[in-house]
Symmetry: C2
Subunit: 388 residues, 2 copies
């Protein structure tokens, strides 16, 4: 058996996204040691650029040696001790996942659940905390399963008024839209490298506020995960440089390069690019009669969750896009399985070319499926939007 050596796709799913050639080049640089002074400089620069990207001064800002889900687990297991009350807000797969993670580490979890496709109103969080206080409130900023953007500022105020810590999933949002850790007073935030940072999957950027670090430093019990224990990992990423585990060297090269690219583009420009291309895609899809699933006004720019038109074979379309156009888009997860497509416009993959290509490919594929479309309507509407 011999797996193919190289395969080039256009990654317009829920992640991973297309990786810049410069990042791939960085990934392939010679491996050096995890205690090599040259590597430690790389870690310092990663921290500095993650602080820039997360909009934070938090000293405890670093990349966990696992994917985004490891970032989620890192935040939960470090903040929670057995029996601690935690409130998790569920409006998709990743809120559910956070509940599962929290239960496994012994949290007394309470949840509020709303319909998929909707965002939480601040008063819903206030009511839940009034009924049942919590040490930590977990919420997803960009729900990758539904394409919903969750506003956080007002919720953060409520969470802190109730004396809780705010834990935010920014896996899909970081690098593609504003994630203002300090401005919004987020206490713990995690992301993944393979979404809007456009780095391969394998690391999870995380950041902890001073209040969160106080909680971690004053735990009565050890963190249940040795691998993800921040009180030890901080001694490697900090000035002590004490060996904990061997950092994924080359993945850190790649992350650094992807963060340098982000800094060079500038956060505001990058966010603007994501919004602009999202609007063009949305204009095109809407003209083809394809409906967005999130409630209006809460659509994520980088993850376009749309309803699969009636009578269309989900798997057949995605297969055709992959085989005929080399385009990957995502199917639905959980409650949206078979009902949604998730079209990503993340990081390097968020380009006008990709938007136009995807619209053309989807039109071709839907036509093959017998859907009656006005020929070229999607591209026409997208072009109109793009020309302003």
């Amino acid at each position: 058996m011999n797996a193919p050596k190289t395969m080039k796709r256009v990654l317009m799913g829920p992640g991973p996204s297309d990786v810049d050639p410069g990042v791939l080049e960085a990934l392939s640089r010679p491996t050096i040691g995890h205690l090599d002074p040259a590597f430690l400089e790389i870690l310092n620069e990663i921290r500095e650029l993650l602080q820039y990207t997360f909009l934070t001064q938090n000293e405890m800002t670093l990349a966990v040696s696992g994917t985004g889900s490891a970032g989620m687990e890192t935040c939960v297991v470090n903040l929670i001790e057995r029996g601690d009350p935690m409130l998790v807000c569920i409006n998709g797969v990743f809120g559910k996942r956070m509940t599962d993670v929290a239960e496994r580490c012994g949290a007394e979890v309470s949840t509020i659940e709303i319909d998929w496709g909707k965002a939480f109103a601040p008063e819903q969080i206030a009511q839940a905390l009034h009924k049942q206080p919590a040490k930590v409130v977990g919420i997803v900023h960009a729900e990758t399963s539904t394409g919903v953007c969750q506003p956080l500022e007002e919720i953060s105020r409520i969470v802190h008024d109730h004396g809780a810590l705010l834990l935010v999933d920014a896996v899909t949002s970081l690098g593609g839209m504003k994630v203002d850790v300090d401005g919004w007073k987020i206490d713990a935030c995690y992301s993944g490298t393979q979404k809007c940072l456009s780095c391969p999957p394998g690391l999870a950027p995380v950041t902890f506020s001073e209040a969160a670090m106080d909680v971690i430093e004053n735990r009565k019990t050890r963190v249940q995960s040795w691998y993800l224990d921040m009180s030890m990992i901080r001694r490697y990423w900090g000035s002590e440089r004490l060996y904990h585990h061997t950092a994924p060297i080359n993945m850190n090269y790649a992350l650094l390069e992807s963060l340098r690219i982000i800094k060079e583009e500038g956060l505001e420009s990058r966010w603007g690019r994501h919004v602009a291309n999202h609007k063009i895609l949305k204009a095109g899809l809407s003209a083809m009669g394809i409906r967005y699933l999130p409630e209006p006004g809460y659509e994520l720019p980088m993850l376009n969750a749309v309803s699969i038109p009636d009578g269309v074979d989900d798997a057949a379309v995605r297969k055709q896009l992959l085989n005929e156009f080399n385009i990957e888009i995502g199917g639905g997860l959980g409650a949206f399985k078979g009902k949604a497509w998730r079209i990503g416009l993340m990081g390097s993959a968020c380009t006008l070319s990709n938007v136009m290509l995807a619209l053309a490919a989807i039109e071709k594929s839907l036509s093959d499926q017998g859907v009656k479309l006005k020929p070229g309507a999607g591209i026409a509407a997208a072009t109109k939007q793009a020309c302003g």
Copy 2:
């Protein structure tokens, strides 16, 4: 601040080891999706080649999305439920680490501890199990902190006679010496990519026997780590291909390439190469009056733990080797801090050239430190050994 772009070292420490250019090239191939059929073929081939390398037919053989320590934690948290008795054998840092990991997941841990540098005798395990039965016995095959090789066959018989499962740390041994999972009836075994597989750090190959999988499938409680839960991960690596977390795509490309290189060389030749170069290095170091720390007969070929000569400045020598020769060797860990050097001969770094280079560099550095050596004695003895 700008970290240097590229740095080339000769990696002769306790890992990471030098990575073959072909593996670095594989690492830099375009990222594709974790559910892309082309990527799933790569996972299949990785499993097949890991089975070859672990000498096992275990279906549950795969790469965990974290470093070797995540592999350790994966094995422990999946096999142990709160209150389960576990015996851990400690003769270095990694046995201690396993104890910590096991305690954190609620195991009733008992330990046997022997002097660093020594290997366990089978009767020590028998006595411990007689005194205190265990569900799982954890032991380190190749103790990276002491350079000791732990024979396992007889211990495995004893562990199974007592109705326990055998959990083995093969982080440093896999790919550099025989790790006979099926022959030695190991129930759970983990490794890391950055030692004798000569792939960058970031993945942890693991394998579970049917008996171990039975235990996992019949747990009464959920695995405490969501990220490392084998009962879910098996549904992604198995035929269901159910999304769990986004696999580190490019790291898996690299692992596949490194495993292909191992298959091409052949396990027996590879083990032979490690032994041969170890003997040459040992001849050279011994001629320079440098003493091995493990008890004679138990020295690991790929990790040469030696005593730092009296009066020599540990840090100064390692710094000189790094700055003057670009050679990384390791310092001591834990009880051996400041007392030991750990010279790795792992995978691609295990070459006659590196042995000779290291001997020459160490002679130069020791001479600079004022150690009186017979000039060229190390190289002479090594050459004699190499010429057979």
